[in-house]
């Protein structure tokens, strides 16, 4: 297995080079880049702009720019944000905790709901519970996340009031109340709406997935054997069926892990959450090339690692899967 992991990691290196070159080219192909953004500033004269272009190296041929970027990145230097002039890594380090906090909490929340719901609706196939779950999860998958966020704000911030203070029931902006002393309760209250917004679609997708893999498992012979042995239905479902049905889900969960770092674009924008999604949005609008490059590379690395993790977890959980002898 170690050998397999090492080979996969080595294979990832050329892939990352390809991705970085392609992304770099794509970003710089887009007309009206950062110079276009600066050009809108009336305080900058034509000479200022030319000097700025020279200083940022944007007047050099594309491959020179790429090689400059690459040699610096290999030394761990991702450059400075065009927008704030701060080191890119500092910008990312500032944003990462908020995103990891939001996404991590949402992940736990999603799994805590999706697993029992999916398992239950499979165990009671065609019952009213199953019909209800299936209707709700269909809706959950079709609802646009940005609209759901707005509707939750409307409901819990605009409409519902705290009966004691008359304030909105839940806050809808930011990660905590500005200027207020730190309190866990305040953080948790700010977490609820973004977490719900993000969670609904995710819960729907996971629980539908678990339901169908659980239904597959329930038709297996070893489930009949377990029942024939006289085991309690509960034991059969949790110890025999759910454990095996969860294996494919583990793969899916592993593949979703990069979102913990990428952040949630729509949710972060709607709730003014100071995370990676917002950073990316601002960088895309302002054509902040160094930030965009660093974030794409980070997210490509995460996608590759997550794929590897999914494959390794699969082999670990399902003894029938072995990678050593066969080719990938």
């Amino acid at each position: 297995m170690t050998r397999y992991i090492v080979i996969r990691l080595l294979q990832a290196i050329p892939l990352l080079f390809l991705v970085s070159a392609a992304v770099f080219a794509l970003i710089h192909l887009v007309p009206g880049g950062p110079m276009g953004v600066y050009g809108k500033n009336p305080n900058l004269s034509a000479e200022d702009l030319a000097r700025l272009e020279e200083k940022l190296g944007l007047n050099q041929p594309l491959y020179v720019q790429y090689l400059n970027w690459l040699t610096k990145v290999i030394r761990g230097d991702f450059g400075y944000s065009y927008d704030t002039k701060r080191p890119v890594l500092d910008e990312i380090a500032d944003r990462l905790p908020a995103t990891v906090y939001l996404m991590g909490a949402t992940f736990v929340f999603v799994l805590a709901i999706a697993i029992p719901v999916g398992a239950l609706s499979a165990a009671r196939q065609y019952s009213w519970v199953d019909v209800l779950v299936s209707t709700l999860t269909f809706a959950g998958q079709a609802i646009p996340v940005f609209w759901l966020g707005l509707m939750l704000i409307l409901l819990f911030y605009g409409w519902a009031r705290n009966p004691f203070t008359g304030e909105p029931l839940l806050p809808a902006r930011g990660m905590s109340t500005l200027g207020a002393p730190f309190s866990i309760g305040d953080y948790l209250k700010h977490l609820i709406l973004p977490m719900l917004t993000l969670g609904v679609g995710w819960i729907s997708w996971y629980s539908r997935y678990l339901r169908s893999s659980m239904l597959d498992v329930l038709h297996q012979a070893y489930i009949q054997t377990a029942r024939a042995k006289g085991l309690a239905e509960r034991t059969v479902l949790t110890r025999h069926a759910l454990k095996n049905a969860a294996i494919p889900l583990v793969t899916i969960v592993a593949l979703d892990l990069p979102t913990i770092v990428n952040g949630a674009l729509y949710t972060e924008i709607i709730f003014s959450w100071p995370g990676m999604g917002q950073l990316f949005f601002r960088a895309a609008v302002r054509r902040d090339y160094p930030i965009l490059m660093a974030m794409t590379m980070l997210s490509s690395v995460m996608i590759i690692l997550a794929n590897l993790l999914a494959d390794v977890a699969y082999a670990y959980l399902d003894p029938r899967v072995r990678y050593e002898r066969s080719s990938t």
Binding site: L26, F138, A142, P144, F146, L150, G158
Partner: protein, 308 residues
């Protein structure tokens, strides 16, 4: 053509075709899903309303500063927005945009995906390896990033086709979502190319292109139709999301996403402006998803349909 006459092998979908007419069979399975029928109903209403939007008395882009932020009334069923434009009119015309973008994006993805997956599956060997690595590469790009960058790129190319953003956004979504189609077509082609009717067609002198398009593709159609249906819903969600962020369809051309973007600025003051466009996206997507789900059952050749 002789090679067509030879195509009598019991490949599932085609085989059922011989017995009762494929559409009839598919319909028999399809109508057993009540929610899918509701979906067809909803989607037909939305489509008809978008097509016949010109019958509606208000213009989606005509400004009326005296009647800004009117609540829903008999005159303006969905109220008016911050420029006094009738929201219902904007929603109707926005529906055109959303549906056209959804279908065009999926068509683009189908063409690209079928070409790449088909060639990979049919020729195998090096072509297969290269094209499938290309597919893997495309999958390891962060897709939202790609969508946003490509939409910038196309928006500023100034080709007449791309003005207003409809064609460019459809192309962008197609360019970032062909990968599942490619994998699907490749997998089907790997199986189909070993069948005898393909050998027979080749013996009759049919060209590679003819074999792929006329003989193999129709036999891979079942899963593709399902994938394409769900893909339309996906494309509509992506388009509305991009437009919501301001990267998609550019105002004043209305799309459900950019109507919502405009409305969210006054969310708590004039909530109805935000409710309707999102509701339309939701209804359209859920209707298409239900239809796709039923089609999956109806087109699955190994799916046994209870009592016959």
């Amino acid at each position: 053509m002789l090679d067509r006459a030879l195509e009598q092998q019991p490949v599932p979908l085609a085989a059922r075709h011989r017995q009762a007419g494929m559409l009839q069979l598919v319909w028999r399975d399809f109508r057993r899903h009540p929610m899918a029928l509701v979906g067809v109903g909803i989607l037909s209403v939305i489509t008809l309303m978008s097509i016949f939007a010109f019958l509606y008395p208000y213009d989606p882009e005509s400004v009326d500063q005296l009647n800004r932020f009117q609540p829903p009334s008999f005159q303006h069923p969905m109220g008016t927005d911050r420029s006094g434009r009738d929201v219902m009119a904007r929603i109707l015309y926005g529906g055109r945009v959303s549906l056209v973008v959804g279908i065009a994006a999926m068509a683009t993805a189908l063409v690209i995906g079928a070409a790449i997956g088909g060639i990979a599956g049919y020729y195998g060997r090096i072509l297969d390896a290269v094209l499938m690595r290309l597919t893997d590469l495309a999958l390891s790009f962060p897709s939202l990033f790609l969508l946003i960058m490509l939409s910038f790129l196309l928006r500023e190319t100034h080709l007449p086709l791309f003005q207003g953003g409809i064609a460019s956004i459809a192309l962008v979504i197609g360019l970032t979502s062909w990968m599942s189609v490619a994998r699907l077509v490749r997998a089907s082609f790997l199986v189909i190319k070993e069948q005898e009717f393909i050998t027979a067609a080749r013996a009759c002198g049919a060209s590679d292109a003819r074999i792929m398009v006329r003989h193999m593709l129709p036999n891979a159609a079942g899963p593709l139709i399902v994938n394409a249906t769900l893909g339309v819903a996906w494309a509509i969600l992506i388009e509305s999301g991009l437009s919501f962020l301001g990267f998609g369809i550019q105002p004043p051309t209305p799309s459900w996403g950019n109507i919502l973007n405009d409305a969210q600025k006054t969310l708590s003051l004039y909530p109805w402006l935000s409710i309707f466009p999102g509701l339309m996206i939701f209804l359209t997507v859920i209707a298409i998803n239900y239809i796709g789900d039923a089609l999956r059952d109806a087109l699955d050749p190994y799916h046994v349909t209870g009592r016959r």
